[in-house]
Amino acid sequence: MLESPVSLSLTVDGRERVLSVDPRTPLLYVLRGELGLANPRFGCGLAQCGACTVQVDGEPVRSCTLPASQAAGKSVTTLAGLGTPEHPHPVQRAFLEEQAMQCGYCVNGWIMTGAALVDREPHPSPQRVREACAGLVCRCGAQLAMMRAIERAAE
């Protein structure tokens, strides 16, 4: 059934946005298609891998399954809004220092998840980091480097 577009207001990377979208559209497609934001990436569409992770009010969320309507009135942060080379988030700085990736397709999910963890719990144990990232997939096998990076950011 065709659902009428509704007006959706949200904040993305610090900017107020008002969009007209089918409220059932997953947030991922709104961010990529309507707003041209590249970093949440499609990996599975099933909330199994985390490549599409964004932060909604500071919490890591799978944008591939979250209906856009549920982000209404909230603050969404993507990787591009997390930090810059001049002002990196500590997790981004640590990923650089550890060169923590192979292809990097999944890295959005690990940085966004790791950053949310470190922002909430400044000194998580290595065990806690592994638990927090248990829902993420890295097909290339760069997990150990990414764990080191998040632990380094939490030091």
Binding site: G33, A38, F42, R139
Partner: protein, 751 residues
């Protein structure tokens, strides 16, 4: 916020408007025109110097996630004496880069770097000669630092490369030899003595990591063209099933979504991406019955042995196996390795713009030039009318299926007359992407006086080249097969003792390799091709587990037993280095094996791949009650000769250990009837962070007096056998069927 993915678009001739992915974004490129391939003998085909001193390098090699392109940039910067920051890499564009066969076989640094090294050395010679004329100083008195040519004794008398750029255009022709991976060019300059290296061998940061960390990097999934539509394919439910009836009514709920059909290739195309996704999801199709029924999952090894061999290769027949086995102690065993899936992190994606004036494809597949041939065949146009532009996708470890997405996109773009971006859904990749072949082995060993007197083995596999790693024909693509093209260009590819495993000094050896026919001739979710180190992990699992069986029967320490059957000092070296790093104390395996609670053990395996040597030691903890295996530690000693970038090499090996551990512990394509039922990360599980080892050590063994050999694949080879051998050490039970899932381990424990 950063600018979105698009930058400026330039109108280009009669063709399309197009963009090229570069780290950090895209830039406009001309669409496909009938144009000659780059002239390989021209120096400026390989590199150009800009007036600002930047060096643009053109290579048919591409980045697939291991830092290879950074290594090539280091090599060029080294020969030219410019800083690494001056290098700009243009990669894998059939219109502007040499055909170097794409990447594969762990050859990009070993072979692919040669023409770049030689071209850069020649460019330095030509630039210095031009500077000599300009400055009135003989070349012999000139030196180069950071791209500035200067008098060795008076640095003030200098001229920068940027002021000499015209010199390269009139450089003498290069001598061209070889082709594809073996393509080389040489001028009259000699490359540097490795002893003088200042950039090669240093642990530099990869060029692509910072843009990826800050989210400015753009992948193929981010390519956008004006007027581009989104496509989603609708795959059959099972092998060879054909659409009988299609109900398009559900598409009315999804904007301008519409069905496109090319033969039996079905897709939904829409201007909004979500409309394409939801439309493809909701389309109602009645399908014919499958064209084949696969054997029951658990009976696959037996089925493979029952099939007639479709081809056979007498790989090694050395000595008299029968005579050498007489009155020796005989050990026999059978092993099985499953079908595995590429299951790339990003499902296949490509953008195609098919126009009367030419075809342009953006794709992250590893062999852009071969893909150009295949797309030309698929669309029945001359290859000169097709331009393939590499844009990085998720990590590619062989013929991953990105090529298939390019074929889908090309057929859809031609059908709708607009650019089409195709991205597969998860199941299109995991279930319907090409697979690594299942492999089985039967081995018979003879022991005498604690040494291998004879070894007789047969390894059977599905054809690793059923889908050629060179996607150069229409039938190579799944979309091509659905559109009615037969796969006419398979390559015969066996699983071979020695080539796909380590090899030992055994005087009586009979090693046979056999293939069995595909389970279905076409449109099969179990069609087989290259997945990282194509037949290596499976073949090495079989060989190195059996060598361990022989060592155990001989009551020998597994490291010492292997060393006793090796001669090459580099092979012995990696085993010794791994043992040393793991604090390995010599003893026969399974001395302390028990069957209660959580038991621990250690195992070793050795392999060569080309000239590269690897030894891996695994330590495991096995919960006997539920059969769950946890790898607690891995130690890998790795000898690939000279090292270009130890930092990225270490990262690649460590990641390869995790990927190969995942393949060993969890990965098995499941199937039922004519369908693959491993469709996503729940039904095709891979390693997750709670299961990572507590510790992983990579020991780099370096030689400055030999060239850099391949390093992308070799360390995936011994991992499974090392883990299986550790399970044996822990529990005294041999798990001969991979992967080491709870079910397979429990079955072995209760056998």
């Amino acid at each position: 916020m950063r600018a979105p993915t698009r930058r400026t678009f330039l109108a280009a001739g009669a063709g399309a408007l197009a963009v090229l992915a570069v780290p950090g974004g895209f830039r406009a490129v001309a669409a496909a025109d009938a144009s000659a391939d780059p002239d390989l003998a021209r120096l400026t085909t390989w590199l150009r110097v800009g007036s600002d001193g930047t060096v643009e390098v053109f290579t048919g090699k591409v980045e697939i996630g291991m830092g290879t392109i950074t290594g090539l940039a280091q090599i060029v910067a080294e020969e030219l004496d410019v800083p690494l920051t001056a290098i700009r890499m243009t990669t894998g564009d059939t219109a502007t880069t040499p055909d170097q066969g794409g990447v594969g076989g762990s050859t990009s640094t070993q072979l692919g770097a040669r023409p770049l090294r030689h071209a850069a050395a020649e460019a330095r010679r030509v630039l210095v000669a031009a500077a000599a004329r300009r400055l009135g100083i003989p070349s012999e008195r000139l030196d180069v630092d950071d791209g500035v040519v200067h008098d060795r004794d008076d640095v003030a008398r200098s001229v920068p490369y940027g002021a000499l750029v015209t010199a390269l255009a009139s450089a003498p022709a290069l001598a061209v030899s070889g082709e594809a991976f073996g393509l080389d060019v040489t001028g009259t300059a000699k490359p540097k003595d490795p002893a003088a290296y200042r950039i090669v061998g240093k642990p530099v940061a990869r060029l692509d990591v910072a843009p990826k960390v800050f989210g400015t990097f753009r992948y193929v999934v981010d390519v956008k063209l004006p007027g581009m539509l989104h496509g989603r394919v609708v795959r059959p439910p099972a092998v060879g099933a054909r659409p009988l009836a299609i109900d398009q009514e559900p598409l009315r709920a999804h904007g301008d979504a519409r069905l496109v059909r090319v033969g039996d290739l079905l897709a939904v195309v829409a201007s909004g991406e979500w409309d394409a996704v939801a439309g493809a999801r909701d389309l109602r199709v009645r399908w014919s019955a499958p064209s084949a029924t696969f054997p029951p999952q658990g009976a696959l090894p037996e089925a493979m042995w029952a099939m007639p061999a479709s081809s056979r290769d007498h790989v090694v027949a050395r000595g008299d196996v029968v005579a050498a086995s007489a009155d020796a102690q005989i050990i026999e065993a059978s092993y099985a390795w499953p079908f595995q899936s590429h299951a790339t992190m990003g499902p296949g994606c490509a953008v195609a713009d098919v126009r009367a004036g030419g075809v342009t494809i953006w794709c992250g597949a590893q062999k852009p030039h071969a893909l150009r041939e295949g797309i030309a065949d698929l669309l029945d146009v001359p290859p000169s009318r097709v331009r393939v532009v590499f844009a990085e996708d998720a990590g590619s470890y062989g013929r991953a299926g990105f090529d298939d997405a390019a074929a889908d996109a090309a057929l859809l773009s031609r059908a709708v007359g607009k650019p089409v971006r195709v991205q597969w859904m998860r199941a299109d990749m995991t279930a319907w992407g090409p697979k690594a072949p299942a492999i089985v082995g039967r081995l018979r060993g003879a022991l005498r006086d604690g040494k291998i007197a004879a070894l007789d083995l047969t390894i059977r596999a599905f054809n690793g080249g059923e889908i050629s790693s060179h996607p150069d024909s229409a039938g190579n693509f799944l979309g091509g097969q659905l559109a009615g093209h037969a796969n006419t260009k398979p390559r015969i590819e066996y699983a071979v003792y020695g080539k796909n495993s380590g090899a030992y000094e055994i005087t009586a050896l009979h090693a046979l390799a056999e293939l069995v026919a595909p389970l279905a001739p076409s449109i099969s979710p179990l069609r087989t091709t290259h997945l990282r180190d194509p037949e290596g992990p499976g073949t090495t699992f079989i060989i190195e587990s059996f060598i361990d069986e022989l060592a155990a029967r001989a009551q020998a320490d597994p490291v010492a037993f292997r060393i006793a059957h090796l001669r090459d000092p580099r092979a012995i070296g990696v085993l010794r280095k791994a043992a040393e790093a793991a604090h390995w104390t010599p003893r026969p395996a399974a001395q302390n094996a028990t069957h209660a609670g959580t038991v621990r053990g250690r195992g070793v395996a050795f392999a060569t791949r080309g000239e590269t040597m690897v030894a891996t030691i695994a330590e495991v903890a096995l919960d006997v009650a539920n059969g769950k295996v946890r790898v607690t530690r891995l130690v890998c000693a790795h000898d690939c000769g000279a090292i270009v970038n130890p930092r990225s090499l270490r990262g690649t090996i460590e990641a390869n250990l995790m990927q190969s551990m995942s393949r060993a512990l969890y990965e098995e394509v499941r199937f039922e009837g004519g369908a693959v039922t491993s469709r996503d990360w729940a039904t095709y599980p891979v390693v997750r962070t709670p299961d990572l080892p507590e510790r992983v050590d990579v020991v780099l063994v370096e030689h400055h007096d030999i060239p850099p050999y391949g390093a992308g694949e070799p360390s995936s080879r011994p991992t499974a056998a090392a883990i299986g051998n550790a399970i044996y050490d822990a529990a005294g039970v041999r798990v001969r069927t991979a992967p080491f899932t709870s079910a397979n381990v429990r079955a072995a424990l209760s056998a």
